[in-house]
C-alpha cells in the first residue's frame, strides 16, 4: 500500500509583493480558483502523484479579534503557501517539484523573503516546510494512478454493459471481463507494503494508546484543575459571529463549486494561553493518530464527502490554518459539519478565538448552527489556485469505482453478488 502524505511550504511575503503575487496566482487559474493543469508556474499535469494542491496567501482577516485579549500580540506575517497532498513521502514530492517546476517555484516563492537567484531552491523548500498537526485522507492507500485507472475502467464497463444483450449474470460478467482485456484497460497492481513499513505502522498503532494509558492517571489527578481552567477559558472566549454580508458571500462563493469538489480553508488565532496550545496539540495529535489508523476507509466520523483535511499550526501554535477538500456545495458541507461532526469541530477548533460558546470541549460551538456558519465564513480564505488530480470525481465515485474493480477481480460468481456488482456499474 502506498501511503499518502501532505505538506505545506510557506514563507512570509516580501513587503509590497501582494499585487504581483495576486496577478501571478490569477494567471495560474482557468477560472477563479481552478488551477490550469498546464499552467507554466507549476504544471500539475506533469505530476502523477499529486492528489490535491493549492496556492494561496495566508492573509488572516480576523487578526484584529485579538484586541479582545489585553496585551496579546505576536508577529503574524502574511505568508504565501503551497499545500500538497501526494502519494509517497513529502520529501520525494518536494524533490520532484523542484525538478519539474523549479523555475516556476522560484518565480512563485521569489515573492517571499529569503529566496533569491542565489538560494539553493531544494534546501529553501525543505527548510520552509511546515508539517500539519493532523492529516486526514478519505481512503488511505488509494493512489492518483489507481483513481484514474479505475474511472477509465468504470467508463469502459458502463459502455460495454449498455451494448451487451440480456444474458445471465455470469455470462454478462464473463463478457465484460473479456471486453476489459480486449480494450487493454490498464489496472496497475497495488504496491505491496514492505515489511519495515508494516512493522512501523504496527508500532505507531500501539504506541499512542500506550502513551494515552500512561498519561491518563496524570490527567485524572489534574482533572479538577484542568476542568476549572478549561471552563474559565471557554467562558472568557468571546463569540465573534456577526451576520454574513452579501459582499462576503459573493466574494467567497466565487471560488466554490467549480468542480463537484471544492477547497475549503480557514485561518484563526488560538486563545492566548499555554493551556489552550497544549490542549490543541494533544487533541490534534490524537486525531492524527485516528486518521492514520482508524478513519482510513471512506469516512471521517459520519462524513463521507471529505477527500482530505489538515490542521496546520502557524506562529508557534498561536494560529492555525485548516484546509480541506469536500464534495458538494458549501452548505452541504456545513450540514455535515453541524449535524454529524460538531463534536469533532469543537474538539479541534475549540481554542480558536471567537468560536461560538463551547461547553466542556464537546458541547455548544458548532452545534449552534447559525453562529457557527457566521463564525466560520468570517475566517475563510478563498483559494485562488486549486488543483485536483481527478476532476469531476467525488469520494463516492472513487469508492464505487474501487468496489467495481474489486468485483471484476473477485472470483465470487454467485448470481446475487454479480447482480449487485452489475447494478453499481
Amino acid at each position: 500500500m502506498t501511503p499518502q502524505h501532505d505538506f505545506m511550504i510557506a514563507a512570509p511575503l516580501r513587503a509590497g509583493a501582494r499585487p504581483s503575487i495576486d496577478e501571478l496566482l490569477g494567471s495560474m487559474a482557468v477560472e477563479p480558483g481552478l488551477a490550469d493543469p498546464d499552467n507554466p508556474v507549476i504544471p500539475f499535469s506533469r505530476f502523477s502523484k499529486i492528489h490535491f494542491a493549492r496556492v494561496l496567501v495566508l492573509d488572516d482577516p480576523t487578526l484584529p479579534d485579538r484586541v479582545h485579549f489585553p496585551n496579546f500580540y505576536f508577529p503574524s506575517p502574511v505568508r504565501l503557501a503551497l499545500l500538497v497532498v501526494c502519494d509517497g513521502s513529502a520529501e520525494d514530492q518536494i524533490e520532484e517539484l523542484a525538478e519539474l517546476a523549479g523555475e516556476g517555484l522560484r518565480r512563485l516563492f521569489g515573492h517571499c523573503e529569503g529566496l533569491d537567484e542565489t538560494t539553493d531552491l531544494r534546501r529553501w523548500l525543505h527548510s520552509n516546510r511546515i508539517d500539519s498537526a493532523t492529516f486526514y485522507m478519505n481512503w488511505r492507500g488509494r493512489t492518483v494512478v489507481q483513481s484514474r485507472e479505475e474511472q477509465v475502467l468504470h467508463d469502459v464497463l458502463r459502455e460495454e454493459l449498455s451494448a451487451l444483450p440480456a444474458a445471465s449474470p455470469r455470462e454478462t460478467k464473463r463478457a465484460l471481463r473479456e471486453a476489459v482485456a480486449r480494450r487493454g484497460v490498464k489496472l496497475t497492481p497495488r504496491d505491496p507494503t514492505p515489511p519495515w513499513r508494516w512493522l512501523a505502522n504496527l508500532v505507531d498503532l500501539i504506541v499512542v494508546p500506550i502513551v494515552i494509558l500512561l498519561m491518563t492517571p496524570l490527567l485524572i489527578v489534574l482533572a479538577p484543575i484542568l476542568a476549572i481552567k478549561l471552563r474559565r477559558l471557554e467562558r472568557e472566549n468571546p463569540m465573534i459571529a456577526p451576520i454574513r454580508t452579501p459582499e462576503l458571500m459573493e466574494r467567497l462563493s466565487l471560488y466554490e463549486d467549480r468542480d463537484l469538489t471544492s477547497p475549503f480553508g480557514a485561518i484563526g488565532s488560538v486563545q492566548p494561553s499555554l493551556f489552550r496550545r497544549l490542549q490543541a496539540t494533544y487533541i490534534l495529535w490524537l486525531v492524527d493518530w485516528a486518521a492514520r489508523h482508524i478513519t482510513t476507509r471512506g469516512k471521517l466520523s459520519r462524513v463521507r464527502t471529505i477527500h482530505c483535511a489538515r490542521w496546520i499550526f502557524l506562529d508557534n501554535k498561536r494560529r492555525m490554518y485548516f484546509a480541506s477538500e469536500y464534495d458538494g456545495s458549501h452548505e452541504a458541507y456545513m450540514d455535515d459539519f453541524v449535524n454529524k461532526v460538531a463534536f469533532g469541530l469543537n474538539l479541534t477548533f475549540g481554542p480558536a478565538i471567537g468560536i461560538p460558546k463551547i461547553r466542556w470541549l464537546l458541547w455548544g460551538g458548532a452545534n449552534r448552527e447559525r453562529d457557527w456558519k457566521n463564525f466560520l465564513r468570517r475566517h475563510e480564505l478563498p483559494t485562488p489556485v486549486w488543483y485536483k488530480a481527478y476532476p469531476g470525481l467525488t469520494c463516492q465515485d472513487l469508492a464505487r469505482n474501487e468496489r467495481i474493480r474489486k468485483g471484476l477481480e473477485s472470483r465470487r460468481d454467485d448470481d446475487r453478488s454479480i447482480r449487485r456488482w452489475l447494478a453499481e456499474i
Binding site: M249, T295, G392
Partner: protein, 488 residues
C-alpha cells in the same frame, strides 16, 4: 429559551394554507414608482392582509372568505419603501442578494442555459419586482379582485404585465397529484427537536424552520431582521426572544421563494412513450421519474411506516428504508431527491452504543449517510399550476422557509441538481434538471432505474422538461412587520 405558542394573529394565513378552496389565484408583481413611496406605504398600511387567526376563526365558524390578499416584499422592494439602511443590513445575505444575484448562485440553483436569469420574464438582477401581491378568490371573481387591487394601488405602483394567473392547486400539468408531502409545523410550541424520535424520519418540524423569530430544529433562533428598540416605529414590533435590546422585524414572517416553471407536457409525454414503449411502460417510467403514482399514492412496493410523527396526509406514510437498492423508487426519482425521508441516524437508532459507534464512524454500510438528515431541509409549498392544456403550462412554485440557504437552496442544489446525489453519477433531477454538463465532460442528463434482475436501466440524453422563466426571493412579513414597513 422557552418555546412559544405561535402568534397566529400576526402571521399571514399563507403559512397555514394554500387556500385550495378558492380556485382562482393571481400573482401581481408590483414596482413602487419613484417619488410615490409614501403613497405606496399608505396603500400597504390600508391593505387587508388575512392572518392565520382570522383564517382559522372563519374555518371554525364555517364562514367563507371570498377574497384573500397576502403580501411579500423583495430586498429592493424594502429599499424602495425606504426601510432604513441600518435595518436592511440585518437581513440575511441570501435574501439581500436575491435569487439571481450572481453566476455562482445561478450555477448552484441550476439556473443555467435556458434557465438563466438573463432569459427570465421577471426577476432579473437589477430588475426585480418590489412587491408580490398574492390574490385568491373564486374563478369568477379573480379578475374583478385583481382589477380592484390594481385600482387601489393607483399611481403609487406599476404592475408588471402579464399578470401571473394560476389555477387550482392539486394536479400539476404532467398530470400528477401535487403538493402532498408538507411538513407539519409545530403550531403549539410543543416540539423538542433532536431527541431519539428524530433518529427516524419525522414530518413534524419546529416553527422556526418556516417562521422567523422562533426556535428551529437546532434549538436556536436563526438570522432574521432586527430593529434597535430605540428606532422610530420599533415599539410596534414584537420583542426579540434572544436579545431584549432589539425588536424583531422578522418574527412571524418567513422567506418566500417564487419560481415560474414552464413544463413541456408534450415533450414529457413523448419521451416517456418513446422510452416506455407502450402506455403501461410510459406510465411506469413517468411514475419512476416523479417517484409517485399519478394519483398521488406511494409507489407500489414501498413498505408503509406507521410511526412517522406529524404526518399531514395518511397516504404519505412511507420512507425509503424498505428500498435501499432503489428497485421500487429510483434514487434519482424527483420526490426521493426533494424529500429523501432520512432520519438523524441511517436506518433509525438502536440504543446508545449503536449511536456512539455510528457517530464515530465505526458502524454502518457504504450507503449510510450519503444523504443528509431531512428535518433540517423542508419547505412549505404553496405553488399553483398555470396555463391550459395545449398552451403554455407550468407551475408557479411558491415555497416558504426561514433560511433560504439551508432550506430552498440546499434542496435545490444538494438534492435536486446534484449529479452525485445518493452516490449516483452524471445525473441530476430527471424532472427539473437543466441537462447541461455540471463541468466540462460531466453530463447530468441521465436517469438510472436500478433493477433487482441485474444491470440498471439507464436513460441517456433526457430532454429538458422544465424551464425556469422567472423567480425571486421575498420576505413574507408578519402583520405587525408589514405595518412597520408601511410606517403605519
Amino acid at each position: 429559551m422557552p418555546t412559544a405558542i405561535l402568534e397566529r394573529d400576526d402571521i399571514q394565513a399563507l403559512v397555514r394554507s394554500g387556500f385550495g378552496k378558492l380556485e382562482g389565484s393571481r400573482l401581481l408583481l408590483v414596482r413602487v414608482r419613484p417619488g410615490r413611496e409614501e403613497q405606496a406605504r399608505e396603500w400597504l398600511a390600508r391593505a387587508e392582509v388575512l392572518s392565520v387567526a382570522e383564517f382559522d376563526d372563519a374555518r371554525i365558524a364555517r364562514r367563507r372568505i371570498n377574497r384573500i390578499l397576502q403580501i411579500a416584499i423583495t430586498a429592493p422592494g424594502l429599499a424602495a419603501l425606504q426601510v432604513p439602511d441600518a435595518v436592511m443590513k440585518t437581513f440575511p445575505a441570501d435574501f439581500l442578494a436575491g435569487i439571481a444575484s450572481d453566476e455562482r448562485r445561478s450555477h448552484r440553483l441550476g439556473d443555467v442555459g435556458d434557465n438563466s436569469p438573463s432569459r427570465w420574464k421577471y426577476g432579473r438582477k437589477g430588475d426585480e419586482p418590489h412587491l408580490l401581491l398574492m390574490l385568491y378568490a373564486d374563478c369568477a371573481d379573480i379578475d374583478a379582485f385583481a382589477e380592484a387591487t390594481v385600482e387601489g394601488l393607483g399611481q403609487s405602483c406599476e404592475v408588471l404585465q402579464p399578470q401571473l394567473d394560476c389555477g387550482q392547486p392539486g394536479i400539476e400539468p404532467f398530470g400528477f397529484k401535487d403538493g402532498i408531502s408538507q411538513p407539519l409545523l409545530d403550531w403549539d410550541g410543543k416540539r423538542t427537536p433532536g431527541g431519539t424520535a428524530d433518529q427516524i424520519y419525522t414530518n413534524y418540524i419546529s416553527a422556526g424552520e418556516v417562521l422567523l423569530g422562533y426556535q428551529d430544529e437546532y434549538h436556536l433562533v436563526g438570522d432574521r431582521p432586527l430593529v434597535a428598540a430605540g428606532l422610530p416605529g420599533a415599539k410596534g414590533l414584537p420583542p426579540s426572544i434572544d436579545d431584549p435590546d432589539l425588536r424583531d422585524l422578522g418574527r412571524n414572517g418567513s422567506f418566500l421563494v417564487l419560481r415560474t416553471l414552464r413544463q413541456d407536457v408534450q415533450g414529457f409525454e413523448e419521451w416517456t412513450m418513446r422510452m416506455g414503449g407502450d402506455e403501461e411502460g410510459a406510465l411506469k417510467l413517468a411514475e419512476a421519474v416523479i417517484g409517485r403514482q399519478k394519483n398521488g399514492l406511494p409507489l407500489e412496493g414501498l413498505r408503509r411506516v406507521d410511526n412517522i410523527t406529524g404526518l399531514a396526509d395518511p397516504e404519505d406514510n412511507f420512507t425509503y428504508d424498505s428500498d435501499p437498492e432503489g428497485h421500487v423508487c429510483p434514487f434519482g426519482g424527483h420526490i426521493r431527491r426533494a424529500n429523501p425521508r432520512t432520519g438523524d441516524i441511517p436506518g433509525g437508532g438502536r440504543g446508545l452504543l449503536h449511536y456512539l459507534l455510528v457517530t464515530l464512524g465505526l458502524w454502518g454500510t457504504v450507503k449510510d449517510d450519503v444523504i443528509a438528515p431531512t428535518r433540517f431541509h423542508r419547505l412549505l409549498r404553496r405553488g399553483r399550476p398555470y396555463g391550459r392544456k395545449g398552451g403554455e403550462e407550468g407551475l408557479h412554485f411558491i415555497a416558504l422557509n426561514s433560511n433560504l440557504t439551508r432550506h430552498f437552496e440546499f434542496i435545490q442544489n444538494a438534492w435536486l441538481m446534484n449529479p452525485n446525489f445518493a452516490g449516483l453519477s452524471l445525473e441530476a433531477d430527471p424532472l427539473t434538471g437543466h441537462r447541461l454538463p455540471s463541468q466540462p465532460g460531466f453530463a447530468t442528463d441521465n436517469f438510472t432505474r436500478p433493477r433487482a434482475e441485474g444491470p440498471c436501466t439507464r436513460y441517456t440524453g433526457i430532454p429538458r422538461f422544465v424551464t425556469v422563466e422567472g423567480g425571486g426571493y421575498f420576505f413574507l412579513p408578519g402583520i405587525r412587520a408589514l405595518k412597520y414597513i408601511a410606517r403605519a
